[in-house]
């Protein structure tokens, strides 16, 4: 199913507005899900469920998002692992681990100044759109 990025973006935006109770204006491509839009872990599940429903065209072959594929599992455990975060700073191993777990996030800004703060913005609206684009055009 070929869908333009803009079409995908609009569907994702509608889901975020509904799930997170935010205004459409607040949903921008780089809006961080947690920091800017107030998403909690239960919301990530809610978003994944709604994406599955919204992008299923054939009920016999429902669109499914495997656990951890879009939203990384157990990030708190990773962030408290000494190999990845030491003295409040992300180690080179930690950066590798983050990139492995979040392949759909844009690390350009993060790479300029890697920190816990910039890591928090890695999961944003674009991440979801990137994921959906990759899945739909596969």
């Amino acid at each position: 199913m070929a869908m333009s990025r803009d079409e995908i973006y609009k569907k994702v935006r509608a889901i975020l507005v509904e799930t997170l109770g935010v205004d459409e204006e607040e949903v921008t491509p780089t809006a961080a899900l947690r920091e800017d839009l107030g998403a909690e872990s239960i919301d990530y599940l809610d978003i994944a469920f709604r994406l599955e429903k919204a992008f299923t065209t054939d009920p016999a072959h429902p669109f499914k998002i495997p656990r951890g594929e879009l939203f990384p599992e157990n990030l708190p455990a990773v962030m408290s692992d000494e190999r990845y975060v030491k003295d409040g700073k992300i180690t080179p191993d930690g950066i590798v681990e983050l990139k492995k777990r979040m392949p759909y996030s844009d690390f350009t800004e993060f790479d300029k100044a890697p920190s816990m703060e910039s890591a928090a913005s890695l999961m944003n609206v674009d991440t979801i759109v990137n994921y959906m684009q990759a899945r739909l055009n596969a």
Partner: protein, 164 residues
């Protein structure tokens, strides 16, 4: 006060939908506090009735192996006040279910008929906390599905009048 807000299942389709009823009675003490001059069933306890109906539905879908905990009320909209003598009918259906949790949608009506007066529309999300609450302390055994709840389901499945 016992923490059981449904009385009986009248329909139960595993992994799909369930309907339970609750009779609102003047024997319930808390009604006399809310309010003395005009007892009503509090909206929050109507939400709990839906949470229990749907929670058992979600729990049974995975053989009561998960600790199913209410994590989000997406929306709960109330349309009418509920009085003693009313029978609440909770109809819940699973919208989505995964290893991590579930989302359900339900309606509450004042009777079993399809057009019985609508009390509320409720959307809830449950979390399977064993899979999600890393770091939070809670017991290993399943404290959520007590006999009080499993008994409700058993009574539905083994429905038969017991003659004296």
């Amino acid at each position: 006060m016992r923490w059981i807000w449904i009385d009986k299942f009248v329909e139960f389709s595993s992994k799909s939908s369930a309907t339970a009823i609750k009779n609102v009675t003047l024997a319930e003490e808390h009604l006399h506090d809310l309010f003395p001059a005009f007892p009503i069933m509090p909206a929050s306890l109507i939400v709990e009735g839906m949470a229990q109906t749907a929670g058992i539905l979600v729990g049974e879908a995975r053989n009561f192996s998960e600790k199913v905990i209410l994590a989000k009320i997406g929306r709960a909209t109330f349309h009418t006040l509920v009085r003693p003598g009313d029978t609440l009918v909770y109809s819940a259906r699973i919208v989505n279910l995964s290893e991590s949790g579930a989302s359900i949608s339900g309606t509450v009506r004042l009777g079993l008929e399809d057009d019985a007066l609508l009390v509320a529309d409720i959307e809830l999300m449950f979390s399977h906390i064993d899979k999600n609450l890393a770091g939070a302390a809670f017991p290993e055994h399943n404290f959520v599905f007590t006999q009080q709840f499993t008994q409700l389901l058993n009574s539905y499945r083994n429905a038969a009048n017991i003659p004296l």
